[in-house]
């Protein structure tokens, strides 16, 4: 409902003294927040600071224990999400609330149907989506199944859901965590457009660059409290980081120049056809030397996941593989016995998977049990026929201290750690074993800057200890900051390689779009329009 009846000049949102406890955990403490109409308001804070909780309260998902919410200057009771929707609030959750096996259209109308029958709702929504698509550049195929969409597109669906409900206030919880830079840029263009239309937007993010780039005001949360609210123009990344974490944070990765040694990983002509017959890897050639970080950039879904999985020893069931992988000069089997995760670990491959919750951790296991996950056959964890749980616990305690995992309680289930700390558990497990080769995917997705700083340091330290690192990330910033060499993947191929100090964003961006100005393979399907072909520098390998 547009803010027709709103008092003129009153802030779009005003929160007064919001408190919320989950059992003994005080997630929000006496929080005040004012968001003027037609602005983009950023909220930052460490993992677990209470940002999502606060927004969920505003959206009626949780009920506050105390406090008052004013929309357009008028106090309203938001008992459930229906009330919030009626008050013109829309929210895109950090973890999307989509029905995976529904079509886009079905997801959009869910809860906002016109009547008992679906047909009229569907056709109205189809029209509305067309209109929204052209207005904001939010194109999605309305008949596609959500599970078949990329995360970026799934997010568009979430935004479309809010807009379809005519949200006047849009809350986005870590929207860019899963987006590529291009997708993020696109999102920001949309957000600016919405703001210019007079809509109010709240944006939660861990990325200070985004805060600086797009927000008008920014609020900082720490441990459930609102510690500051400032105009973005009057602050800077360093100050925000300090407000957030309570100490000074290094925002740049300090790394000495690389001193590459002998090749650790050599990949030749690696091909993979998945169970559906789709060729995911189309002949990958790679080499990583000791003491070197190779970054793989690329838009999500171009084979990076499959590359990591094949190297890590667990390609999807039914996949067909071809090619050659050598580790320290010795060939690794591609399939069959000896090609599973366990054998890879024994051969000296560490692996931080892209999806820590689904793959890297058993969420219901305790932290100490997770510290042995994948290494539960390691000799030092055995005690005769049995597992030496005491040894595993001791090992876990060491890692918890070393990595400053919080809370430092090894008996807590993994699911009760914040995302950043979950990630630290995985990184600690894989890095502390000093693998010859570390595969690491999306190391800092959704992780707060304090933890990012730490994880980056560990990766660089491993490199400096003479190990090889294969880094896959959709964060171009991260790739550029950490890598010694950068390879760009597109459509199952390595489009090109650059030395990190010579690479530019524009150059990499071209490669990510499937265009290599230097060597254009004749068989590569290149959209002609997307071939500007400017930069020709860099050592292509």
């Amino acid at each position: 409902m547009p803010a027709a009846g709103a008092l003129h000049g009153a802030p779009a949102i005003e929160l007064r003294g919001i408190s919320k406890a989950f059992g003994p955990v005080q997630a929000n403490k006496d929080i005040d927040l004012v968001v003027p109409r037609g602005t983009i308001h950023g909220i930052i804070g460490e993992n677990g600071a209470g940002k999502s909780t606060l927004m969920s309260i505003l959206y009626g998902f949780y009920r506050p224990d105390a406090g008052e919410i004013l929309i357009g200057g008028k106090p309203i009771a938001i008992a459930d999400s229906q009330a919030a929707i009626r008050a013109g609030i829309g929210m895109v959750f950090q973890h999307f609330k989509l029905v995976q096996n529904f079509t886009v259209l079905e997801n959009v109308i869910l809860g906002a149907e016109d009547g008992g029958l679906l047909r009229p709702s569907l056709s109205r929504a189809r029209g509305a989506l067309k209109r929204l698509a052209s207005e904001y550049g939010l194109q999605v195929d309305p008949d596609a199944l959500v599970e078949e969409l990329s995360v970026g597109h799934q997010q568009r669906v979430e935004i479309l859901k809010a807009l379809y409900r005519q949200a006047d206030i849009l809350i986005l919880d870590e929207p860019t965590g899963v987006l590529t830079p291009a997708e993020a840029d696109h999102l920001f263009r949309i957000l600016r457009g919405l703001r210019d239309e007079g809509k109010t937007i709240i944006l939660i993010t861990h990325k200070l660059r985004e805060i600086m780039e797009i927000t008008d005001n920014v609020s900082v949360m720490r441990r459930g409290e609102m510690v500051a609210s400032v105009k973005t123009a009057e602050t800077g990344p360093a100050q925000l980081a300090e407000l957030m974490v309570g100490r000074k944070v290094l925002l740049r990765v300090e790394k000495p120049p690389a001193r590459p040694g002998a090749p650790v990983l050599e990949v030749r002509g690696l091909r993979m056809v998945d169970a559906d017959g789709v060729e995911r890897l189309r002949g990958i050639d790679l080499e990583i030397r000791a003491g070197e970080i190779l970054g793989i950039a690329g838009v999500a879904g171009n084979g990076q996941t499959q590359l990591l999985e094949v190297l890590g020893g667990f390609p999807e069931a039914g996949a067909k593989l071809q090619g050659e992988i050598r580790l320290n000069g010795k060939p690794l089997p591609l399939g069959g016995a000896g090609a599973d995760g366990r054998a890879r670990r024994q051969a000296g491959v560490g692996h931080v998977p892209e999806d820590r919750q689904a793959e890297g951790l058993i969420m219901d296991f305790t932290a100490w049990e997770n510290v042995a996950f994948g290494y539960h056959h390691a000799p030092e964890f055995q005690n005769g026929m049995l597992m030496d749980n005491a040894a595993i616990r001791a090992d876990a305690m060491g890692k918890i201290q070393h990595f400053d995992i919080r809370p430092p309680n090894p008996d807590l289930a993994a699911r009760n750690f914040s995302g950043g700390n979950q990630q630290k558990i995985v990184v600690a497990r894989e890095v502390e074993r000093n693998p010859d080769l570390l595969l690491i995917g999306q190391p800092t997705r959704g992780v707060d800057i304090g933890a990012i700083e730490f994880i980056h340091k560990r990766i660089v330290a491993l490199r400096d200890a003479g190990k090889a690192v294969l880094l896959v990330s959709v964060e171009l910033d991260e790739i550029m900051a950490l890598s010694d060499r950068i390879a760009v993947m597109f459509d199952g191929r390595i489009m090109g390689e650059r030395l990190a100090d010579e690479a530019t964003t524009g150059d990499l961006g071209c490669l990510m779009a499937g265009v290599d100005p230097a060597l254009t393979p004749p068989e590569a399907a290149i959209p002609p329009a997307a071939a500007p072909g400017t930069d020709a520098g860099g050592g292509a390998g």
């Binding site: 059992g23 003994p24 692996h351 999806d355 969420m363 219901d364 042995a372 539960h376 597992m387 009760n416």
Partner: protein, 392 residues
């Protein structure tokens, strides 16, 4: 898969329908003390179940006090009662452990009934095939036979699930029926002594009769539970609890079973083979169910009869779930069901209360302690949080 709030978009769902991993409690700080959760909640739930049972007894015109007295007296009030209670407990421990092991692997084994029946066949074949000189030799052999047959009966569903994706719940249900048919055929046509009316095998030779707990007590000079069926298998059951506990929480296989049961994608990442775990977990599960046969077939009936399992396979489901899939819990839940079974039997035997009342009481106990536990827990949590607030 976690409910609601914490589902990452890419989090693949576990795969099988009964993969209902229990979400562990235990946030950063507990909402209430552990003792309240583990002891107080079940006790209150139990009290509620018995309260409602009392109402049912009143409704059919009998005296609940009298009924309770008969049950407690008959099941726990004498060594005699205990001799029966422990016998039933032993059965339920095995089937409960069987369900539990599979459950940890994310597999819902409803086939305990059939596996235990086949275990009986294994026992009978082993015992009748050779002239065993002494029970101490026959017991391990029969146990192996029981475990082997039970395991084999679980192998087919396991293999079909692992390789063909056939749902374990359907296949184990089907295998219960098939086991009944097979056993019927074998007993009637192959193992039944000619001229015997009873579709049952020949009586086992006296040499393989397992010592009853009462005999063992007598050996120690104690008069305990004369003529009760509880036998040496009870100790095997307790040992099985310990072994299963070691298996699940202290071996690599157990670790892998639990990991696989919680998350298949993660198991793959760690190099744990789904096929291997599915098959192994079901083999162990079937073997445990099969082992029940040394209690009821070798220890009690001393011959193989039709329907010797008498529903213990299904009670095992309740026992495992109520025992929170922990061997100690299974043991306690089995004891509770042993008590209900024996106490209820006494009730039916010596009062005019129909035996179906016991089924109702069992149902209420399962319902209140197993499914409606939060009805008790939620207010308790609120109480403790309030108390803590006040204290703080």
């Amino acid at each position: 898969m976690p409910a609601a709030v914490r589902d990452e978009p890419s989090h693949a769902s576990g795969g099988s329908i009964w993969k209902t991993e229990k979400t562990e409690k235990g946030g950063l700080m507990e909402r209430m003390p552990k003792w309240a959760d583990v002891i107080l909640t079940p006790l209150i739930s139990l009290a509620l179940a018995f309260g409602i049972s009392a109402l049912v007894i009143l409704a059919i015109g009998e005296s609940p006090v009298e009924a309770l007295k008969v049950m407690v007296q008959g099941a726990l009030g004498s060594s005699y009662g205990w001799g029966f209670t422990l016998y039933y407990t032993t059965n339920f421990v095995f089937t409960g452990l069987a369900v539990m092991v599979a459950y940890h692997a994310g597999l819902f084994n409803i086939g305990g009934e059939g596996q235990a029946a086949l275990g009986g066949l294994g026992v009978a074949l082993v015992v009748l095939a050779l002239p065993w000189p002494h029970w101490a030799l026959a017991l391990p052999a029969a146990a192996m036979g029981a475990a082997l047959f039970g395991a084999l009966w679980a192998l087919v569903p396991a293999w079909l699930q692992a390789r063909r994706g056939s749902h374990i719940v359907i296949t184990t249900i089907m295998f219960n029926f098939i086991a009944a048919a097979l056993l019927n055929y074998v007993l009637v046509n192959l193992l039944r002594p000619v001229g015997s009316m009873d579709p049952a095998s020949a009586r086992f030779p006296a040499a393989v009769h397992l010592p009853k707990l009462s005999d063992m007590a007598l050996g120690l000079g104690i008069e305990w539970g004369r003529n009760t069926p509880a036998n040496v298998t009870f100790f095997v059951a307790v040992a099985a609890c310990v072994l299963v506990w070691l298996l699940i929480w202290h071996t690599r296989l157990g670790y892998e079973i639990r990991a696989f049961g919680k998350s298949e994608p993660a198991a793959l990442y760690a190099g744990i083979s789904p096929v291997r775990i599915t098959v192994l977990a079901m083999l162990i599960s079937g073997a445990l169910a099969g082992l029940m046969a040394i209690n009821n077939v070798m220890g009690e009936a001393e011959r193989l009869m039709l329907n010797a399992v008498e529903g213990a396979g299904f009670i095992g489901i309740a026992v495992a779930l109520m025992g929170r899939n922990h061997p100690l819990g299974v043991l306690l839940a089995a004891l509770l069901f042993g008590f209900l079974y024996q106490g209820g039997g006494e009730l039916a035997l010596w009062t005019s209360i129909p035996r179906e009342l016991i089924v109702v009481i069992q149902a209420l106990v399962i319902l209140f302690t197993g499914a409606l536990d939060n009805m008790v827990r939620m207010p308790l949590e609120r109480l403790f949080t309030a108390l803590r607030r006040k204290g703080a």
